[in-house]
């Protein structure tokens, strides 16, 4: 393998890693607010990509993406209000099964609306054959869009959680729900907001990657499980680490094609998930001391 090819693999890995990181951040936002792992997280990505493709038939690309993000945000809010909000002290098993049920319903609805065909948005700049040459490594401008937008999302979230009242309220709720409520924060609204935020981020991610990876109704579950792998790898709830973990998983996956047939790509990443869960459930960046106090 020459050095150009090596970097070509790295770039491909970073692209996929970025989308895994986006899904993982979505997991983290809801997990931090509620302690729920939302198994329908991958469906938001699918929903965003599919809606944008449909809207793009009628309105220009930026408006279509905005529209798709709004639709997904609305669906996220709807899910929380209809299914989660009124449950009192539900058990983990119950929440897992409910979110799995939701993911099936979204997927089946998408199947009936859009059918089984594979769709994609047009490239944001240039076409599928445009590429930028960095010293022999060819990079599609869309890859830069994916990585750029992921970076923007991370920066935005960091600013949001650290410097806005709303973001701080959400953090307060995840740190101590009762104390936050005593301070006059509506914990319930914060949960709804967390679903909206993670749906919006997922949908935006779905729009940005769709020219490269394509979207169809069935991409949600694999994305969810890889997003979860990344979330675990980085330590559940830690979004900055999730980005790093996403890149690691993306690059590992992209090099795995070199060793094993591409059909086994998912096998590699899920095996990584299992190994991490067995060996170090606190994640590679998490501290072992805090892990000892948690239940896995």
């Amino acid at each position: 393998m020459n050095i150009e090819l090596f970097f070509q693999y790295v770039v491909a890995g970073l692209t996929y890693g970025a989308i895994y990181a986006i899904v993982a951040i979505g997991f983290n936002i809801i997990y931090n607010a509620t302690g729920i792992i939302n198994f329908a997280q991958g469906e938001f990505v699918m929903l965003g990509g599919m809606t944008a493709v449909t809207l793009n038939h009628f309105i220009p690309l930026p408006a279509a993406i905005l529209g798709a993000v709004l639709v997904a945000t609305f669906v996220g809010a709807l899910i929380e209000i209809v299914f989660i909000r009124w449950l009192r002290g539900p058990s983990v098993l119950r929440l897992i099964i409910i979110t799995i049920g939701i993911s099936i319903l979204i997927r089946e609805t998408a199947l009936h609306i859009w059918g089984e065909s594979v769709r994609a948005l047009p490239y944001f700049t240039g076409t599928s054959v445009t590429s930028i040459n960095f010293r022999g490594v060819y990079v599609s401008p869309q890859v830069l869009w994916v990585i750029g937008i992921s970076a923007v999302i991370v920066v935005f979230l960091t600013l949001f959680f650290n410097h806005t009242l709303l973001g701080r309220q959400m953090r307060a709720c995840s740190a101590n729900r009762d104390a936050a409520r005593l301070c006059g924060i509506s914990a319930r609204n914060m949960v709804t907001l967390s679903f909206m935020l993670s749906a919006a981020i997922g949908a935006l991610g779905g729009c940005v990657v769709s020219p490269i990876t394509y979207v169809h109704y069935d991409i949600g579950t694999p994305l969810a499980i890889k997003g979860f792998t990344v979330a675990i790898l980085g330590g559940l709830g830690n979004s900055t680490a999730a980005v790093a973990a996403g890149m690691i998983l993306g690059i590992m996956e992209s090099f795995s094609i070199w060793v094993l047939p591409a059909a086994y790509k998912d096998v590699i990443s899920i095996s990584i998930l299992l190994v991490i869960l067995f060996v170090r459930p606190s994640g590679i960046f998490g501290s072992a001391e805090t892990a000892r106090l948690k239940e896995f």
Binding site: I37, F39, F83, L87, R88, G89, P90, S91, V92, L93, R94, I96, I97, I98, I100, G101, I102, S103, I104, L105, R107, E108, T109, H112, T221, P222, I225, F228, I232, P261, A263, Y264, D266, V267, I270, S271, L273, L274, L277, F278, P281, E295, F296
Partner: protein, 360 residues
């Protein structure tokens, strides 16, 4: 006569009644789907034991089903005659586990015989269950769900990606499984009635085994684990061991179902390993009332039959998704519970502790 014997007898009568009904109404073709339902039910009662009694969720049981089905299908269809004289094949031939049967083109096909392949498939599933069960069952809640889901997807991806296993087409032309001379598991319509009874007979035997297990030392240990795991641990009950044993037992049920259904259908495809199948099994256990073997069996009989007859049309998966949500929202203790009245009061009264807490 104890209650469980009466129940088993009652269920056997129901099975006979259904067969007689199809006989008299001249609709014996229903028996095909009912037989397939029986094999799925075998998996479901095993899973019910794991989820309801041992309190451990598994979203990967279609994986064990597929391990059973695929190994058996592969061994009984893969022609070994080119290696006839080579090491391991020669040993197998000496041991009498190989059979010769004519293939489509008149040539001879040397394959493993169904009894041997069934045993190999079961052992493989049990070994896999032991290996992954140890570390997986240390996990709880989300982590357990994701790990088992991950296992299911790995099996799915492997069967879908391996050319040797037929990739997206699966394996077809699986021979019938001759149990004794004259009795075989096959999809041929001439053997429909006998196959119906073989399948349901197995389910009833499985139920008898599980019911005995529940009312034994193991069952009481499981109940204590379910009630308060730490307390059970402190009492000296080897909780991890019991959980693992039930996990392996349920995996064995699933793989046996996979082996037999594959012989009955004459083939197996990757959809049997899909995540949706695993979720469907969990949905049926949930509707049946989690810790309620009879409930799970009854719902499995009804829902699998309706689904296999195609009553849900293109909404097949959506129906099971919808069922999951509705049950978990309104009756987390399951539909078929003894205290249905209390449930109704619980929903409208909105007072008291969440019933779903029991199932965690």
């Amino acid at each position: 006569m104890k209650a469980k014997h009466l129940q088993l007898l009652g269920f056997s009568l129901v099975i006979v009644a259904i067969q007689l009904l199809t006989q008299f109404t001249n609709s014996a073709y229903h028996l095909t789907q009912l037989t397939m339902t029986a094999y799925y039910s075998l998996l479901i009662v095993g899973l019910c034991m794991l989820i309801g009694y041992a309190g451990q969720i598994s979203l990967g049981h279609a994986g064990f089903f597929a391990i059973g089905g695929y190994i058996s299908a592969f061994l009984t269809t893969h022609d070994l005659s080119p290696y006839k004289t080579k090491g391991i094949v020669a040993v197998l031939a000496k041991a009498g586990v190989l059979t010769t049967r004519p293939d489509l083109y008149g040539g001879d096909l040397l394959t493993v015989n169904p009894w041997a392949s069934c045993i190999m498939a079961l052992s493989a599933a049990i070994i896999v269950a032991y290996i992954i069960g140890g570390p997986v069952l240390k996990l709880k809640g989300h982590y357990l769900a994701m790990a088992t889901l991950g296992f299911g997807i790995i099996v799915y991806r492997i069967v879908l990606g391996s050319g040797l296993l037929g990739a997206a087409d699966g394996i077809s032309d699986v021979p019938s499984f001759r149990l004794f001379s004259g009795i075989e598991i096959t999809g041929r319509s001439s053997a429909r009635v006998i196959n119906y009874y073989i399948a349901w007979g197995l389910v009833i035997a499985g139920m008898a085994l599980l019911l005995n297990l529940i009312h034994s030392r193991v069952g009481r240990a499981l109940a204590s684990i379910h009630g308060a795991e730490d307390a059970a641990d402190a009492m000296g009950i080897p909780t991890a061991q019991y959980k693992l044993k039930i996990f392996v037992l349920s995996a064995a049920f699933a793989s046996l179902a996979g082996v037999l259904l594959t012989h009955y259908n004459g083939g197996v495809g990757p959809s049997e390993a899909s995540v949706m199948k695993s979720v469907r099994y969990v949905a049926i256990v949930a509707v049946g009332g989690m810790a309620n073997l009879w409930g799970a069996l009854a719902m499995s009989l009804i829902l699998n039959y309706l689904s296999l007859r195609g009553y849900f049309g293109t909404f097949d998966d959506a129906v099971f998704g919808g069922i999951l949500i509705l049950i978990m929202l309104f009756a987390p203790g399951g539909l078929l519970r003894r205290q249905i009245l209390r449930d109704i009061r619980h929903i409208f009264g909105a007072k008291g502790k969440d019933q779903g807490g029991e199932a965690a």
